[in-house]
């Protein structure tokens, strides 16, 4: 392949607009050829970085946020179509190609639609383009802008609609050469025709027909296939590779060893798989692992880095003088992303230049860290996002991108790597385990007067960002170190504004820092202390990272306190919530579920047979990113301990709803994924290695599982900023189910997952 002579910077310097053909850009053929140049840092403020109009009037938009299965390609296309007033079919979106799209960091944290909807990004670029086109039309038609209107990619004179100028004739093929204009007016929500409607997913017809190109389908001329051999135990390092063990195997091209990184390259995938299996490598025994059975107690004894989210300094005094102190400890396991497709990437490293087709959430950051892995200047590396299987956070997408790059560099040819299932299981950064102690002080009237939270969370690595390839396994294997762990005790006092991004502070406290109270609740005596401790396993964001674990503990505990004072769980929550939007989703979910106000457990609970109950949980995700409440209804078989979730009702408020069906799809998926995580998912290990290595040893709900009905009550607020929607419903599921189990049976589950054994143990422990 030749290296064609264009780059993002060249595009922006040149006279022509940045237009990529409407064929499958970003896949082999066309894309592999382009030479990358440096681009990074802040999102570009120039309109031409975001929007180009062709002579045919088609619009090409460039975004630094990618489709991960969450519907973002469609939602972003809606933004452009709405703000530019062009049909959806005339908009093409180019996602996360480091040579030609702006650097918007990582597609994560339920921030991607908000970033492009709310701020000076994609939607504002489109609004700027519309304003600029109106100005051009005004000059062309010699009519003031206020006498013009826009329809279907053309501008016409309101008084004489036969006088028109199409976008293609006004700017087609030429640059705008203006900055994004923050004063360009957005289309008023009342006039929306594309936003706010249930536009179908753009990719779906190709997906159901098997014509969609995932990263797994990328094929380059002369491409070879690689497989990796991971260390067999945590912390094991390579002693020796015996290349003679695979010598002469059909199709084998090369065994690649770089420090502790081991891989093979062959002509065909099956040849590579067989060679990787047969290759004899000897390793050190590894570091040994703490016992799975006592792991949560182990966490308490580790050196820690302590953080106070809030500390009113009077919590001990309130606890000492309380009429009653309620306490409970909650535990949440490590869980996997467990993508349907194991992670895959294709890399083409030729001399000092590299192109990587990757399903990463972080194309621009990956460009930098892959350059470190390869020992190349970052400007010589191009990352082209190509969709993979749903990741839900940092699965092995970045690790396999390094794997492919290392193997391609070694053989000087394009190499495709797809991990085997067992390698995927040890190549991802797990959602972290959590141990949480909760205490509240009650007054004589059963009112909460103080809330005390103390948590232990193990951590190792994380997203590599722009400079830490050692935060994931392949980076470590070739010699980079993870971000260092630095103990710090005691925690410094919190400063600045309340930072509740991890939902460490419960919804019911005032969240006061420096005299400003940023929480959603009223309890003023509050202490939220987190001990971050070293983890034996890689950790990183998994859908609603930390938020889910914390909310599980907060919302179950709130339920315990409500039960203790014999209050209805919804009414008791509302006593302490002062955020009107959070109150409204709680009421909406309860109303939608036909909530019967009464204390839990349900009166007249039988201690045998199948018991039914309902539970509520709610959250303001990250303290500022979406209001969510769920009512779960369950049946508990008290003989077997089996829990069947029969119904979930989600109340949701993310501000203006861009696509109601896309939003429902996210809420439904989050609700069910949350139920699977609450009931069956847990990473387990022995004394040396993780033993959750496939779908038998890491359970999940299948399509055959008896899944509940999921109903959504959506609150559309078109006058507000957009919030995210990918992670908020899942955040409250485990607590809602745990609370429903309590309502049904009077048994309290404090450890996820709620396996039949744990349910039976809790049933046996009932008073």
């Amino acid at each position: 392949m030749t290296q064609a002579a264009f780059s993002r910077r060249d595009f922006l310097k040149g006279s022509g607009a940045l237009i990529v053909s409407f064929s499958m850009a970003g896949t082999a053929g066309e894309a592999g050829a382009q030479r990358p140049t440096p681009f990074g840092g802040a999102p570009d403020d120039q309109l031409d970085s975001w929007i180009a109009v062709g002579e045919d009037g088609r619009v090409t938009a460039y975004t630094g946020k990618s489709e991960l299965g969450q519907g973002l390609y469609t939602a972003q296309t809606q933004l452009i179509a709405e703000e530019l007033v062009v049909p959806m079919a005339r908009v093409r979106l180019v996602q996360c190609d480091t040579s030609i799209t702006p650097d918007q960091g990582t597609t994560s944290g339920s921030q991607s639609h908000p970033e492009n909807f709310n701020r000076s990004n994609l939607a504002q670029a489109a609004a700027t383009a519309r304003k600029a086109l109106l100005k051009l039309a005004s000059e062309r038609l010699e009519v003031p802008v206020d006498q013009l209107a826009v329809r279907d990619g053309a501008i016409f004179v309101k008084a004489d609609p036969t006088r028109t100028a199409s976008y293609g004739t006004l700017i087609g093929g030429r640059k705008f050469s203006i900055p994004i204009d923050d004063s360009a007016e957005r289309r008023p929500p009342g006039e929306w025709t594309v936003l706010g409607t249930a536009v179908p997913r753009v990719e779906l017809p190709a997906m159901v027909a098997g014509e969609f190109e995932f990263v797994h389908d990328v094929r380059l001329p002369g491409m070879l296939h690689g497989r990796v051999v991971r260390p067999p135990a945590v912390g094991a390092t390579l002693v020796k590779v015996d290349e003679s063990s695979v010598r002469g195997m059909p199709g084998l091209v090369q065994v690649v060893v770089k420090k502790d990184f081991v891989g093979v390259v062959a002509e065909k995938p099956w040849q590579a798989i067989q060679a990787a299996r047969r290759l004899k490598a000897s390793w050190t025994p590894g570091v040994g692992l703490p016992s799975h059975g006592t792991f949560y107690e182990h966490l308490r004894k580790q050196p820690s880095r302590d953080t106070l989210t809030v500390d009113s300094k009077d919590v001990n005094a309130k606890l000492a003088t309380a009429a009653e102190v309620v306490r409970a400890t909650y535990a949440h396991p490590y869980q996997m992303h467990g993508s349907m497709g194991t992670s895959c990437a294709v890399a083409d490293v030729q001399g000092d230049k590299a192109t990587i087709w990757s399903p990463t959430q972080a194309s621009h950051p990956l460009k930098r860290t892959a350059a470190m892995i390869l020992g190349l200047p970052p400007e010589n590396v191009r990352v082209i996002f190509t969709m993979g299987a749903g990741c839900y956070g940092i699965n092995a997408a970045d690790a396999v991108s390094y794997d492919a790059a290392l193997l391609s560099q070694a053989v000087g040819k394009p190499v495709r790597v797809q991990l085997m299932r067992a390698e995927e299981a040890v190549s991802e950064n797990y959602g972290s385990a959590y141990l949480i102690d909760q205490r509240v002080a009650l007054d004589a009237g059963g009112q909460i007067v103080a809330w005390d939270y103390e948590a232990w969370v193990p951590t190792l690595g994380g997203r590599p960002g722009y400079e830490t390839p050692g935060n994931i396994i392949t980076g470590l294997l070739v010699g980079f170190q993870p971000a260092p762990f630095r103990p710090l005790t005691p925690a410094p006092d919190p400063t600045g504004a309340l930072n509740n991004r991890s939902n460490a502070a419960p919804s019911y406290v005032a969240g006061c820092v420096g005299g400003q109270c940023g929480g959603t609740g009223t309890v003023k005596s509050e202490r939220v202390l987190t001990h971050t401790v070293p983890s034996p396993f890689w950790t990183g964001p998994l859908r609603a990272p930390a938020r889910l674990q914390n909310t599980f503990a907060h919302e179950c505990f709130m339920d315990e306190v409500a039960a203790r004072v014999k209050a209805d769980p919804v009414e008791y929550r509302l006593r302490y919530l002062n955020d009107p939007r959070l109150r409204e989703v709680v009421v909406a979910a309860a109303k939608g579920a036909g909530w019967e106000a009464r204390p839990s457990p349900r009166p007249g609970v039988s201690r045998t047979g199948v018991a039914t109950g309902r539970g509520m949980a709610c959250v303001l995700y990250e303290g500022h990113n979406g209001y969510s409440a769920i009512v779960a209804e369950v049946e508990v078989d008290q003989a077997t301990g089996a829990v069947r979730v029969t119904r979930m009702v989600v109340g949701y408020d993310c501000g203006p709803i861009s696509n109601p069906d896309g939003l429902k799809n996210q809420l439904e998926g989050g609700a069910l994924q949350g139920a699977s995580r609450a009931l069956v998912e847990e990473v387990v290990w022995d004394d040396r290695k993780v033993t959750s290595v496939d779908w038998r040893t890491y359970r999940t709900w299948s399509l055959g599982s008896d899944v509940p009905v999921v109903e959504c009550v959506l609150i559309d607020r078109r006058d507000q900023e957009a919030y995210g929607a990918g992670e908020s419903s899942i955040t409250v599921v485990a607590a809602a189910i745990g609370n429903a189990i309590f309502d049904a049976t009077g048994a309290r589950l404090r450890q996820v997952p709620f396996t039949p054994e744990r349910v039976k143990a809790a049933l046996a422990a009932r008073a």
Binding site: L68, G69, Q70, G71, P200, R201, E203, L204, P205, A206, M207, V208, A209, G210, E211, F212, E213, F214, H216, D217, R219, H225, P250, K268, P269, W270, I273, G338, S339, M340, G341, T342, A389, G390, Y392, Q418, M420, R421, D661, N665, Q666, E668, G669, G670, A671, L672, Q673, D694, W695, R696, T700, W701, S702, L703, G704, S705, D706, V707, V709, V710
Partner: protein, 155 residues
């Protein structure tokens, strides 16, 4: 290596391949089909499903030599973007996907089962899908799409 004839989506292909190679790799890498997908390689998730002799099988553990000469249908063999098969149409109508990686296994497993058991109950459909995973948990929509297809078949 040996010469094998595969009949895929109505077309014959003659290939020189190790007969022990799992069918999936031949479909992906020799025939360049995108429908069947590697999910686990262990017949545990359904991503690699194809229909052989009317039955949904896991191509990731099926040696290509075992299906020589048999009629194999992949997702591509049902319909196209312009002319989707009714079950593909049902998935579009119900917007039954998120990342879409599992669609191959879900659609082909459901189709093969319903073609043989057109009057299947919901519980029987779920039983048939018990070896298929969707990690985006689009279950509710997928089951709705499958029921819609079943109803259309019954008319």
């Amino acid at each position: 290596m040996s010469v094998i004839t595969l009949r895929v989506n109505g077309r014959s292909h003659t290939l020189d391949v190790d007969p022990a190679t799992p069918l999936l790799y031949v479909l992906n890498d020799d025939l360049h089909l995108h429908g069947p997908k590697f999910g686990c390689g262990l017949a545990q998730c359904g991503s690699c499903t194809v229909i052989v002799r009317g039955e949904a099988i896991k191509s990731c553990v099926t040696p290509v030599g075992n299906v020589s000469g048999a009629e194999i249908t992949t997702l591509e063999g049902l319909g196209t973007v312009d002319r989707p098969h009714p079950i593909q149409r049902a998935f579009i109508d119900e917007q039954a996907a998120q990342c879409g990686f599992c669609l191959n296994g879900v659609i082909l497993t459901a189709k093969a089962f319903l073609d043989r058991n057109p009057k299947a109950t919901d519980q029987q459909i779920r039983q048939a899908l018990s070896g298929v995973l969707c990690r985006c948990f689009t279950h509710v929509r997928m089951l709705r799409a499958i029921r819609k297809y079943a109803r259309e078949m019954a008319i």
